[in-house]
Amino acid sequence: MLDWAFVSRYAPFFVTGAEMTLFISVFGIALAILTGLVCAAIETARIPVLRQIVRVYIEVSRNTPLLVQLYFLYFGLPKLGFVWSAEMCAIIGLGFLGGSYMSEAMRAGLEAVPQIQRENAYMLGLSSRQTMLHVVIPQAISTSIPGVVANVIFLIKESSVVSAIALADVMYMAKDLIGMYYTTYEALFLLIVTYLIILLPISIIGTWLERRFDYAKR
């Protein structure tokens, strides 16, 4: 059914596409984690003004689609003088979208640490910095890791949208092959396989981490 000669001839296309997908995802996710950390810290520390700004950012980022965010960054903002390359837009877009999701996952982890842990730490004479560093954060990390990994998978999937601003990722390659040679089955087969190769290992690691940390809590 599949033309295997065609599949093997064009498989390298999808390797190139996967490199672009991973390039955008890795930097986008790094930016998202950074943004998430800052936002979660601001919300936990209850810094006035900044906290309201973070709230607005989270609501805006969670309630708009990535495609519209990308179009705004890539086509809209240059009119104000901010001209970025497509790669830059994709990374910023992914970071903007992911930042709110990461922040929520991390904040949930921080809030899940019972108050009594802090009280006990103070009682034992730890400073608030020591309490945070040695008592609260280690526990918060183990609670928030499953959420963070789920967000990582979500963001890699979302990165498929960057083909819309002419970045040659996996999606783009599939569309290209269908458009050029009408090799629908082969292109879709390669598309599915490439995404499975990228996402399955992360998904399995995610499930494993979840189980591991679930065990640690019991």
Partner: protein
């Protein structure tokens, strides 16, 4: 700021609103069809039959791991060739959103059903309620409270995902925006900023109340 006048040109805002209506309609149909699919899927997931279990597992995992855009491509380009099923772009979108929404909702239904302790069933039977009465009067009211907040969130996600329909050529709000931008390419070259800005705001205005409603329901029913 002169370029903001593009929004005041005759027909621009009405057309954008029409586009938004297409987006909402697409999302509403997808959500409405996802509900029965999700209920059946969720019920199938709670069955002990190993064959059904494996099939449901693969269905859910495949839908979850593939990007929605990839699913749209598979439906739009693949199905037409495989079964001569000539879905138009809108049809392919609804098809994929229902498959996806149904799988996600099914998992929520499964979670809600399984979270009800066995003692609830046992007590109802002991009180003489039939299977059906137990389900409609005891299990369902409790399951819905666990289900509804997450389902409203899922609806928000479906609204956001409908934006991908534009990449298959459905004329919804983003496509209308692009048409307006192209039509005013020469008199308002900087109109892009404003048109995409308005579309950005439109999505927010639709999705934000849904998110708030989900949060409200979650809080309200959390302590009961």
């Amino acid at each position: 700021m002169q370029s903001a006048n593009i929004l005041l040109q005759p027909g621009v805002m009405p057309r954008l609103l029409q586009g938004l209506w297409v987006t909402i309609w697409l999302a509403a149909v997808s959500v409405a069809l996802s509900v029965p699919v999700g209920l059946v899927t969720g019920w199938l997931m709670t069955l002990r039959n190993p064959v059904i279990r494996v099939i449901m597992r693969i269905y859910l995992d495949f839908i979850r791991i593939m990007p929605q855009l990839a699913l749209l491509f598979i439906a739009f380009y693949g199905l037409a060739r495989a079964w001569d099923w000539n879905l138009d772009a809108t049809g392919a979108c609804v098809f994929v959103f229902v498959l996806w929404g149904g799988a996600e909702l099914g998992d929520l239904v499964r979670g809600a059903l399984e979270s009800i302790p066995a003692i609830q069933y046992e007590s109802s039977y002991m009180l003489g309620l039939s299977n059906w009465q137990t389900f409609t009067h005891v299990i369902l009211p409790q399951a819905v409270r666990r289900l509804l907040p997450a389902s409203v969130n899922l609806a928000t996600r479906i609204v956001k995902t409908t934006s991908l329909a534009t990449l298959l050529g459905v004329v919804e709000v983003i496509k209308v925006g692009q048409q307006i931008i192209d039509a005013h390419r020469f008199d308002y070259p900087a109109g892009t900023l404003w048109v995409y800005g308005v579309i950005f705001a439109m999505y927010f205005v639709v999705c934000w109340p849904l998110s708030m409603a989900a949060r409200y329901l979650e809080k309200r029913w959390a302590n009961e």
